[in-house]
């Protein structure tokens, strides 16, 4: 998984079409920033905390990489099993480090598709400093990851 040193944040206010009443009592659409915009900032903060927590669990071999991505993307085991077209018990096995070791490459490719990552992301964390640019392209049905790293000239 590639983790950028640039913290994820809510850069510009997100606008939604919301209905409000005008002075004549008419209910009209208004393209505006949501009243709960601050929850979006909170979402990114929480996501950073979640990433740290899951990395710790992964490092201490309490969870498998499949479990890591499932929780990171707020998915349930049932949803993952349905999308993978696998029995619930099989997915549950893949959530443990021991079970993950037995997953074949074809299955990993399918997991990679539902988490929208490359197969290599299951096996490494790549930390990229904020001043470094990075672009990633998945090839060969996510089996190969083409990474381009750019360093700004001083």
């Amino acid at each position: 998984m590639i983790i950028s040193g640039k913290p994820q944040r809510h850069e510009k206010p997100w606008r939604l079409v919301m209905y409000r009443t005008d002075p004549d009592g008419k209910c009209v659409p208004d393209y505006k920033v949501t009243e709960f915009d601050d929850l979006i900032h909170e979402y990114y903060t929480q996501r950073t905390l979640e990433l740290e927590r899951l990395q710790q669990l992964l490092s201490s071999q309490e969870i498998s990489p499949v479990h890591f991505f499932m929780e990171y993307h707020h998915m349930s085991v049932r949803d993952v099993a349905s999308r993978m077209n696998l029995r619930l018990s099989v997915v549950k096995k893949h959530l443990t480090p021991q079970g993950f070791e037995k997953v074949d490459v074809a299955t990993l490719k399918r997991y990679a598709r539902i988490f929208d990552i490359g197969v290599s992301d299951f096996f490494q964390f790549l930390f990229v400093p904020p001043e470094v640019g990075i672009s990633v392209e998945q090839r060969s049905e996510r089996l190969l990851q083409h990474v381009v790293i750019t360093v700004a000239n001083e």
Binding site: V17, C27, T45, H73, H74, R83
Partner: protein, 359 residues
Amino acid sequence: MERIDNYTHDVASHCESGSVRNVLVHFGLDISEPMVFGIGSGPAFFYLFFAKGPNGLPLIGIRNAPGSILKNVSGLLQLEFVQKRYKTTDLALAKADELITRQIPVIARVDMFYMKYLPQFLQVHAPFHTIVLVGRNRDAYAISDPYFNEIAELRTADLKPAWETHAAMAQDNYLSYIDRVPERIDWRRAITTAMIKTSRNMLLPPVVDRLFFFVGVQGIRTYAKKILSWPDKYRGVRLREGILFQAVGFEDQGTGGGAFRLMYGAFLQEAAQLLNSAELESMAGRMIENGLSWQEISRKFIKVGKPIPLDDDAYDDWSAENRPVLGDGLAEISADLVRRAEFEDRFFKDLRKAATALR
């Protein structure tokens, strides 16, 4: 990129009603999003006790099933409309390419997770997102998404997994398009039939509403009762997220505010004008008041949920001190929800009568 000529993209509150509105406008029909939502019999309520969200709390549905708006609108406006689910994404894409070449916008239902043009907080696994494909080149499609303020570009490599997810209840490789809009539309029939249908969806017959205690007005009552037990069943970050998600679900997730009730009020206002009905005008006012009360409930959910600590380890200490406050806050919301249920019970009975009289 090859694009459909004269297609005008516009933002909207909701993905399905917004996409259908954009496509109908493309076919020359002057129609608003609230009118599409109203004729589509959008308002509903489901307390889905059997389906848990990511935070473990039961899911709530506040509109009819995905696809129903398009289906209802097509039927009542008598559109020449084609819908099909293809076996594979490649077949669906081949059909989409053919339609785009024929200058026909293609409605597709996809998983929002892969919509890379949306901000990251919206890229979540929700396989019921309605978009319109309005152009293409060798390896990307032009997407008209009502949640995005311009026509976006999505790589075919991202569209493919979004269109075929195998997720429960997802309509994989679903594609639909409108062939022709009739020259004359019987608006009176379409509007009144839709109102009666919406009322029927919200008010199940006696006895049936005991069996389907999670649907419609009875569903709101069940939901009001169940939220009182949340602090006993859930804790920490999950409880916090679960409570805040109620507010976001009612307000910000494509509802137009007030759990879709404000948009429905706008529909009733428009219908009142079109059918020249003072009774509908007054009912529109009542529905808008109802929408504003739902909005107030969302604010209360935020007030109750926000003080819960973001750290699970801090929850027990916080709970020891604040549990009564949390309980009182949820009790107040529960009472508000019961009032919404009582209101909607009366309202939809009145609406059914008014619509029947107007037919």
